[in-house]
Symmetry: none
Subunit: 195 residues, 4 copies
């Protein structure tokens, strides 16, 4: 669904918030700052959103949906059905690394969302659903290789946990980028080998 640029002030505001979150946590970002970043009048934010919290919720939905649809587009296609499963998993990892784990701007935002989720049940539920989906996609790929549903599920869980840990460390630790990628792909090949 290509958004006609500027046609939707709502999206414009959510993207402004995304930019703001690169510099400050949500709680320290005022509605006026978001408005300024979105280049709209601050009063207008209350026309499109019923409260500051509502902006946050819609923003989180927006981010999660964005990545959910990215994954869906790439891996739910029919054409993938005939592909070699190991190759598919490899592609999945490549995609995940490049588009998610190594996207620093996204990782920053996710650390923020984690923290919000800890204290905010509705946000927590959203995250749970998103992670569940992610694990399910991976789990379904692993199943054919070992024919053990539980093991596949546990392996997916561990893998996603590892990836999120790596996303965290990509922001918190100032690790050399080459080293970081080596660790990521080492792990990936070990997972594949193990199966």
């Amino acid at each position: 669904m290509p958004k006609k640029n500027g046609s939707d002030k709502r999206i414009q505001i959510l993207e402004a918030l995304n930019r703001c979150l690169q510099n400050k946590p949500f709680d320290k970002t005022s509605i006026k700052e978001i408005a300024r970043a979105a280049d709209v009048n601050h009063g207008l934010l209350h026309y499109y959103f019923k409260s500051k919290e509502d902006i946050l919720i819609q923003y989180i939905d927006y981010v999660i949906d964005h990545y959910r649809s990215m994954v869906k587009e790439r891996f739910n296609d029919k054409e993938l059905e005939n592909i070699d499963i190991k190759k598919l998993i490899e592609e999945f990892f490549m995609f995940t690394h490049d588009r998610i784990t190594l996207d620093r701007s996204l990782s920053k935002v996710f650390i923020e969302i984690w923290e919000i989720a800890v204290y905010h049940p509705a946000v927590k539920a959203k995250l749970q659903r998103a992670y569940q989906e992610w694990m399910d996609v991976l789990s379904n790929m692993l199943k054919p290789l070992n024919n053990d549903i539980d093991l596949s599920r546990r392996t997916s869980f561990a893998t996603v946990a590892f990836l999120e840990g790596m996303a965290l460390f990509s922001i918190i630790l100032d690790t050399d980028s080459k080293e970081f990628k080596t660790i990521l792909s080492d792990f990936q090949s070990k997972i594949i080998d193990m199966l």
Copy 2:
């Protein structure tokens, strides 16, 4: 006159903050709330700490030091020198799982600290040091097994990333506790096997 009562008001306040952080993020916790939780007058917080931020910084130091010393006590002992290295690593994982990864109250706090670190260079630096130490301890244990410093370092990095991802998921996902522990110990044995 030994200052027996009142001498530990500082700790009392930091522990009150720890309790507060189980319910609310730091930014939404007012100084008066911390004071109430610590059962002291709110003005006193500014007697012991120069600002709200100072409370946070001292709290983070307190938490990190607490765990650092726990690890130091357990694994820097001479007696460990003669122990079987595989057994030592196993013990290290058991310790880490029980005292850190599975401590939900601690994990909650750490998600909060991660978020703060993203936007706060001094806090980030503290985290970096703590994680580095943790990785170094593990790395030093792995080295004798594979004689490859770089591999040991990367394995430690991946392991700690995985553990932090698991800590995150212990809070964010409502996973069955048994399943969670299984994933944790599966991973541990795979690591050990690999070496």
Copy 3:
């Protein structure tokens, strides 16, 4: 839509401060008191001014500009060019006495501004400029009478110092008003005679 009402809230607030300063020094006047005197919500003061200090600075500018323009209007006119110089000086003193030195409300405010200037370089600079202008106007009037620039400048300096001392005493000492005016006009005639 011409902003007729509300457009002058800024002036309204500065004039409220002027009234407040008749009763209390600036530091003892709270923002809420100024707001009450201006009959506006206290939050609004932070909408029009970025801080309490900013109110003060803008107030001082307002006061100084007010008097500067009063003097400019009266003495920078072309028509003055042909007038008898002694008469002009006489008029200048009359104007100064009536509109400045004998304006008790203004003198009160100026004593406050002096004190602030002592510790506040930016305010000090504003005062310096204002006094310099005042001395220059007078100096330019005296010059034709004695053809000595330095003497004119020194006489102006002394005169303005005297007038400010008198303004101070009009507030601090409870001198009989008639006596006070006599001293003022005695001095004026002596200055004129001397030249």
Copy 4:
């Protein structure tokens, strides 16, 4: 009355306040700052003084008494009775210029006291008494020269006003020190000539 150094904590505190007032107005100087400057515990200030305001009042008394006694010592002596009156007045001006008008630290403090006096009747009364005494001393010197009590009083009033205006300008305007002294002594000789 030589004060045995350190024997009188009260004086020690008042002199600390004097030092503080070189940097900050009284209202912005905290009791703890005064205590630190006096090198005494801040709780002690409330032993020697009943409130912060009491420190201020006693300080003002202390300053005024100090200068009153300086003048008294110098000009109330019998030996002055036989001296040439013009010479005496000259000495009086010299003394005043050197010890009061040109004492920048004192002038700073006096600007502060003026401002306090504006809003504080008791302080105002103290200042009135001090200025009255000063004018009386001068007036009594001038009387023999013109045999007009009223004129002498008015001349004294004007002279002291001028001197205080000059003290003000010595702090507020950054006038060249030589020029400043010239203005001061020019004025002095004109006064003397006039009589």
